[in-house]
Every structure is written in C-alpha cells, then in structure tokens.
C-alpha cells in the first residue's frame, strides 16, 4: 500500500510539472509571441519578400536604375545601376542593414503588385511568378551624373527641380557610396566621419548665408511700400552697439545704392538693416517659404529648415538672420524650393520623385500629378525678384555663372560657420533657375567649406544648367 501511494504522489508531481509547462507555453503565446515574431531576428519576412520579383526603378527616360534579378525561388539580387550617383535618393534594401530612401517609401508598391481577381487567377494558372510594381522617377540620370561629377572631390549637394511641376530632376549628395558593395563597405561607411550614408540634399542643415537674402528681398518687397525706389546708405558697417556690427564682404562699402544693386552686390549692411526694419514680418515670410514647417512629400523626407523667432531686444540676431547667418539653418532642398517658387510666379510646388507607377508588364498603372504647396509671393513680386536675380548673374556676385545664351538667374551665398568654436572655411552656395523667360529648371548647389568667393557653387550650378538645356 505504501508503495502505491508513493507512486500516486509521483504521478501527481509529474502532472503538476506538465501543467506548469502548459501554462508557460500558453503564457508565452499570449504575451510574448508578438514580440518574438516582430523582432528583427525573424528572417521569415525576408523570405516572403523574396517570393516576389521586386519592381524596377526607372529614370524619367525609362533607363532602369535599380533592378532585381532572381537567382532562385527564394533569392534575388538587386542591381543598383545608379551606383553612387543615386545611392542616397533611391536608397537600398538589405536584410541586415534595412531599407532606405525611395526603396523604403515605395516598398509596398515595389513588393507587391495590386491585381484584380481575374489577373490573380490568370497568374496562378499560368504559373507566372509574382512581381512588384515598377516605378518611373522624375530623375534624369544624365543630369544626375553631371551634378555628381561636377561636385568633384568636394562634400556637398545639388538639387534640380522643375519649378512648374515640382519634379525632382536630380538630387545628389556627396560623399556617396556604392550600394552594390554595401555589405563589404558597411563598417567603413559607419565609421566615416563625413557620413556618406546621409542624404545631404534633404537632411543636411546648413546656414544658407547670402542666398537667404532672396527671402529677405521678397519680404521687403511685400511689406515695405516703395522699397524699390528707396536709397540705402551702405557705409560698409551696420553697427548695433560698441561690440557688435555687420560688415560687407571684403569690407566693401557701396555708398548710396538702390535695392537691386544691394541685392546683386550682396550687401550685408543693407539687408541686415532690412532685417531690423522687417522684424517679425521676415519671420512670417520665411514660414511662407516653409521654414519651420515640414515640406510634405510622398516620396522624400525633408528635414525642417529653421528660422528663429527674434526677441525684440536683439537687433544683432534680426540682422544676422536677414543675411542667412545666426541660427538660420536650411536644407539644400529648401533653398531649391525658394528658387523654384520665384521661377514659378511665386507658387510653391510639392517636390516629388515618382511620376508613374507601372504594372509588371510595364503598362501604366497610375499617373502621379503634381501638387501645389502654397504661395510665397504674388506674381508681381516674383517678376521683380526674377529681374533682380538675373542682375546678380549679369552684373553681380554671380557672374561666374553667366553662360551666353542661357539667361541664368540666381543668388550666390557664402555661409560662415564655426566647428567646435573654430572658424571654418565658409560653405559656398548658389541657388537659381533658367531661362529667365519661362524657366524650366531651378537648382540649388552647396559646396561644403567651399571658400570665400562662392565661385565654386555658382560655376558648378551654371554647368549643370548648361548640361540640362543643351
């Protein structure tokens, strides 16, 4: 009897152990399973992806830039034909290192084709393999390459937009990398202090320097009546107090000048003074150009540019902001949009990268139309600004951008900045558009630490425009 009771007790203990195991598994399933499945260590998502032949990304002339090829049922290799030219804007897709750029934004579209019932069944019966949609971008690969090559060994960015529609014709960020050898280069890419993985065009924030005077000009023309006929006194220095003042480049003093000359000579004194006069109105104008606001776009994520709200008792800041220094920060994309707005009679178009979505047989699935974002100024004012910007290239600081027969308009910029308290060579900026009558391209070029005379950005921009128009 004794032994039998023992056996029964042992049975009960084991039963309890089994029940404990049951509960643990149940607990796991209810509370922990979701977390496990969604963790990045779950390779099953990638298997599902690999079942579909990812769609191709084309440039506007139907040149394939990113195209996948299947090597077996479960594996495909993506050929990034755009290599380093389009690395940041198109992005990459990698099991280990994630999905970036346009590949990420259009992941759903590229991964799976939307089919109606009839097409689904036809595919199954005919044993056709699944494919994703292809997309046609607004990029012009030739232009893209030209921009990249022209930036040369410098760090910086270049953007070209069609001002009438918002189509992004080219977007380049340097230094860059080749997504085809991502795995091999990953470690050095991460450790590279110059951040080649960064898309400087949309995510780099720089002081815009004198290119910002375009905004100040718009603000002045909008808010100060008869400012065009006003005569300004430029003595070479704009003083706020004993210790702080603003100077012109090279200490130049332009004497008594009108607004247009102040603009094409890029007078800090005059524009700094305008800042003091405009006060918050300049802040409002900058926001109409989407400073401090998110520039919406389906296709790209653009970092917010910043224009500070000035406190009344700080004339220094007001003046600095008006000439694009101080704490003003802008992305190259923002500056391109400013140029585009001027070119487009004051209307800001939403920048976009993808114009068509195609079916797997390359027939059209969906057209994407341009959208307006808002209005930054009236046509009257934009006409005036256009004229002033033409004068910059003809007579002013932008002469190195002048190319016969192209009627380029623009504004140069030299942005001072400090790194770790030390003065660095300033950034070289140029924003502009062409041709003067009926512009079809707006550009923004920044060469980091490009130097004092801003010739670098200007000549590069003109060569870009030249390549496009010819």
């Amino acid at each position: 009897m004794d032994l039998k009771n023992n056996i029964k007790k042992v049975l009960i203990i084991y039963l309890l152990l089994f029940l404990m195991l049951f509960s643990y598994i149940g607990y796991f399933e209810v509370f922990k399973a979701k977390e496990a499945v969604e963790s990045s260590f779950n390779s099953r998502l990638w298997v599902k992806r690999a079942e579909v032949l990812r769609g191709t990304i084309y440039d506007r002339n139907m040149t394939p830039i990113s195209i996948s090829k299947k090597i077996n049922d479960t594996k495909a290799v993506r050929d990034y034909r755009g290599t380093q030219y389009t690395a940041q804007v198109l992005g990459y897709i990698d099991e280990k290192y994630g999905i970036t750029g346009l590949e990420k934004k259009y992941d759903n579209v590229l991964s799976e084709e939307q089919l109606d019932v009839k097409e689904t069944i036809t595919n199954l019966v005919e044993g056709k393999n699944k494919k994703g949609h292809s997309i046609v971008t607004t990029l012009d690969m030739n232009l893209q390459k030209k921009c990249y090559d022209l930036i040369g060994d410098n760090k910086g960015a270049a953007i070209c937009i069609n001002p009438k529609t918002g189509e992004i014709l080219a977007m380049v960020s340097k230094p860059s990398f080749d997504p085809n050898s991502l795995r091999k280069d990953w470690k050095s890419l991460l450790e590279n202090e110059d951040s080649p993985l960064l898309n400087r065009a949309t995510n780099g924030l720089y002081p815009p320097g004198s290119t910002f005077k375009t905004v100040t000009l718009v603000s002045a023309l909008t808010n100060i009546s008869n400012v065009e006929n006003q005569t300004f006194k430029d003595s070479g220095k704009l003083k706020f107090n004993e210790k702080e003042w603003i100077e012109n480049y090279n200490g130049a003093a332009f004497g008594s000048i009108k607004l247009n000359k102040a603009f094409y000579k890029s007078s800090n004194v005059v524009f700094g003074g305008l800042g003091l006069t405009l006060k918050d109105q300049l802040y409002a104008t900058s926001e109409s150009f989407y400073f401090n606001k998110t520039i919406t776009s389906n296709d790209i994520d653009i970092k917010k540019s910043q224009f500070p709200k000035a406190k009344a008792a700080e004339p220094g800041n007001l003046a600095q902001s008006a000439i694009g220094q101080g704490t003003v920060l802008a992305t190259p994309m923002e500056m391109a949009i400013i140029a585009a707005a001027v070119a487009n009679d004051g209307v800001i178009m939403e920048p976009y990268l993808v114009s068509k979505i195609l079916k797997s047989d390359n027939s059209l699935y969906k057209n994407i139309t341009s959208q307006q974002l808002g209005t930054a100024m009236t046509k009257d004012i934009s006409d005036k600004v256009k004229k002033y910007m033409r004068e910059v290239v003809l007579y002013g600081t932008g002469r190195s951008a002048n190319i016969k027969g192209l009627d380029i308009c623009g504004k140069t910029g030299t942005a001072d900045f400090k790194k770790n308290g030390k003065d660095m060579p300033p950034h070289s900026w140029f924003i502009g558009f062409a041709p003067y009558n009926n512009p079809n391209i707006a550009v923004a070029v920044i060469i980091e630490e490009g130097g004092r005379n801003s010739e670098k950005a200007a000549s590069i921009a003109s060569k870009i425009i030249n390549s496009y128009e010819r």
């Binding site: 084991y14 643990y24 399933e29 779950n42 099953r44 049922d73």
Partner: protein
C-alpha cells in the same frame, strides 16, 4: 477493454496517419510516392505488432503500444516534411550556384527503419522475457554496464556541437548515455529492491554521482538532469522517505552552484536562458529562433509545410517540437504533451500493478525517464528552463533514442501484464 474499442482506436490512429501522409504527398513539388510507401510500411508494422500482442499477450496494457506508435507517426510525418524542405532548399542552392549547397536528408526513411527495429525489439522483449523479476539478480552486471557506457563517451567520444556524447562505430553514431540510462535503471532497481536502511543507499549513491560527473564532464547536462530525476524518483518510491529527496535536492543545488562557479559553459547557459534576446545574434541564436518559430505558429499553425523550420537549428532532433508547433500550432504541441502524459500515466500504472519491488522500480524508472526527458527538452526549446541537448522521445530523429525508448516501453509492457492490485 473490449476488442472492438481497441480496433477502433487503432483505426483512428491509422486515419490520423492517412491524413498526415496525404498532406505530405500534396505539398511535394514532385509527385513522389515516398509518403505513401512510408504510410504503408507503418500500417503493416503496426497491424502486425497489434496482432501479435492481441493474440499472445492479452493481459498487458493496451494503450502504451498505441500511444507510442502515434507519437512515432507524428515524428515520421514531420521528419519527412523536413526532407521535402531540405530537398527543395538543396535545389534552390544548386540553382543559385551556392558553393556548399544544403544537404539532402532522409530523416523520414531512417526513422522508419529505426521504428521497425524498435518495434521488433519491443516484441522480442515481450515474447522472451517471461519472468521479469528473475533479472534482479544481475545487479553487478548492471553496475558494470552503466559505468562502461557512461565513460565510453568520455574516453572515445567525439564532440559534436559542444557536447561530447556521441561515439562513432563503423560509420554509425550512437549515444552511449542513452544505453547507460537503461542499465542505470536496472541497477538502481536491483539495488533499491532490498532497501532497508540508509546503508543500502551508499553504493547506488556512489554510482549515480560518478555517472553525473561523467555527464557534466561530457557537457551533456540534459542527460545529467534526467539521470538525477530518475534516481530521485526511484529513491522516493523505494524508501518513501521525503527527507532523502530533500537531501538529494540540496545536494543538487550545491552541486549546481559549484559547477556554475567552476564552468564557464554552465554560466553561459544560464545567461542565455535569462536573457535570450540580449544575445540573439550569437550565443542565444538557437533559443531565439526557436521562440520566433513558436510565436509564428500561433494557435493553429501555418499549415503542414508552410512554416519555416529552415531557420531553426536542429529542427529534426532537439527542436522538433517547435518545428511541429510552427506548422500545426500550439494546439498540436499541447496534444503531444497530453499524449506523453497519458503514456507516462499508463506506464506508472503498470508499476502500480507490479507484484514485486524490482519490477515496480524498473517500471517507475523507465516511466520517469520518458517523462523527464519530455519535460526537459520541451521546457528547453520554449525557454522555460535552460536549453540542454537532448531529444524528444519517439518524435525526434535519432536511432539510439527511439530504440532505447521502445526497449523501455517493452519492459514496461511486460511488467504491466501482472495481476490486479
């Protein structure tokens, strides 16, 4: 239990197999007949054995054989499912010109062969072992055999995946520790049979400790745990003294604590167990993938053949439980655990009905061997307990394990033929 009812149960099991193998047949890329053949052979083996048992050995337990076969069938179904997958992956690798394409496997066929051997052994035991209790006399043979098998691995063993518990003979591998378990139970049963006072415990205690030491040296911690579980259970049955159990548990904790401090690989296991997600890329990769597969399966699974066991390590052996759970869900996992418990219950019931101590102890020993192994491995792959490298009885691929389990079940079946309580 009526003859009709037994046949009905047998037919239900056949039905289960039919649905399972039909499913396998359909999910194949090419229309190979292998699943049908596997099923046919299984039916034949089971029918033949059932016939023999019913004709000549009516008194024995009727469920043990059925449940064991059902579990083995589940195993073969999933092992062949893995074969299908591995063939597919091999072909994909060849298409992609991979330098070292994944191997084609034959788990299903091999397991079927082991099943045939196991069942034959089972029948042989039932047939030739007329008077089981006579075997209690060979205590010292068992002692020697246990020691030999235990140290076989230590001296002749090959280390595979961190544990040194495999021995290769003429190209075939087997696990000596599995055989050691068999003899350990026989030895303990014969030693504890005449238990009267604690003096009788000294000899067995020494043997168990030595065996455990060998296991720890071989890094076969799972087997060590099971050995310990079996010994404690048998000790309790023999002595009825709870304080011995307590002593053993205390010694166990002391021993574990010391090994924890001494051995890095034990600390690693505990670390992996406590924070699997922190080391998911390296040390705890196996457990993490196992948990992901378990989570992916959900309640009903994704369907036979639709899971992704290729991401799970040792998906045919140690981790087969999660392979099953990803395809057929937690419900299937639960069903398997329930079946194991019922099997355990019936085996213990045989122990209840045994008339002499020796038989009783052997039955308890082998029963707890099966139950403990199940608990430890299912607990390990679900991270309820630290992972150890042992197999799920009857279901995991592995000849040694399957044959040993059928041997143990054969002995239990024989014991169950004894009279009423």
């Amino acid at each position: 239990m009526g003859e009709n009812k037994q046949i009905r149960l047998l037919l239900l099991i056949f039905l289960f197999g039919a649905v399972g193998f039909l499913n396998l047949f359909l999910i194949q890329g090419n229309k190979e007949l292998t699943p049908i053949i596997l099923y046919g052979v299984i039916i034949l083996l089971m029918s033949y054995s059932y016939f023999i048992i019913k004709r000549f050995f009516v008194d024995g337990d009727t469920f043990i054989f059925m449940i064991a076969c059902l579990l083995t069938i589940i195993g073969i179904i999933f092992l062949y499912r893995l074969d299908i997958l591995n063939l597919y992956l091999h072909n994909q690798d060849m298409l992609a010109n991979v330098k070292q394409p994944r191997n084609i496997t034959n788990y299903g066929l091999k397991q079927l062969i082991y099943f045939a051997i196991g069942i034959t052994l089972y029948l042989i035991i039932i047939i030739i072992l007329r008077n089981f209790k006579r075997l209690r006399k060979y205590k010292y043979i068992y002692l020697a055999a246990t020691l030999i098998f235990m140290c076989l691995s230590t001296f002749f063993g090959t280390e595979i995946l961190g544990a040194k518990n495999w021995v290769f003979v003429f190209g075939y591998s087997f696990q000596p520790s599995e055989f050691g378990k068999i003899f350990l139970v026989l030895y303990l049963a014969s030693a504890l049979d005449k238990y009267e006072s604690w003096k009788d415990l000294i000899e067995p205690a020494v043997l168990v400790t030595i065996s455990l030491l060998f296991m720890v040296l071989q890094r076969d911690l799972g087997s060590a745990l099971i050995f310990f579980g079996i010994s404690v259970t048998m000790l309790y049955i023999a002595s009825s003294k709870f304080k011995y159990i307590l002593t053993c548990l205390v010694l166990f904790f002391v021993g574990s604590f010391i090994s924890y401090k001494l051995f890095y690989h034990i600390r690693k296991r505990i670390m992996i167990w406590k924070q699997p997600w922190a080391y998911a890329n390296n040390e705890s990769y196996q457990v993490v993938q196992s948990l992901i597969a378990l989570g992916e399966g959900g309640l009903f699974g994704k369907g036979l053949g639709f899971g992704h066991p290729e991401f799970v390590f040792a998906n045919a052996s140690d981790f087969i439980f999660v392979t099953i759970c990803e395809d057929l869900g937690m419900l299937m996992g639960f069903a398997i655990l329930i079946l194991f418990f019922i099997l355990f219950y019936r085996c213990m019931r045989a122990a209840l009905r045994a008339k002499d101590n020796f038989s009783r102890l052997v039955a308890v020993g082998y029963s707890s061997m099966i139950a403990a192994q199940t608990l430890v491995i299912v607990g390990g792959v679900t991270n309820a307990v630290p992972l150890t490298g042992i197999t799920l009885p009857l279901i995991s691929a592995g000849g040694s394990s399957l044959i040993i389990t059928y041997f143990a079940l054969g002995v239990i079946q024989k014991i169950s033929e004894e009279g009423k309580m």
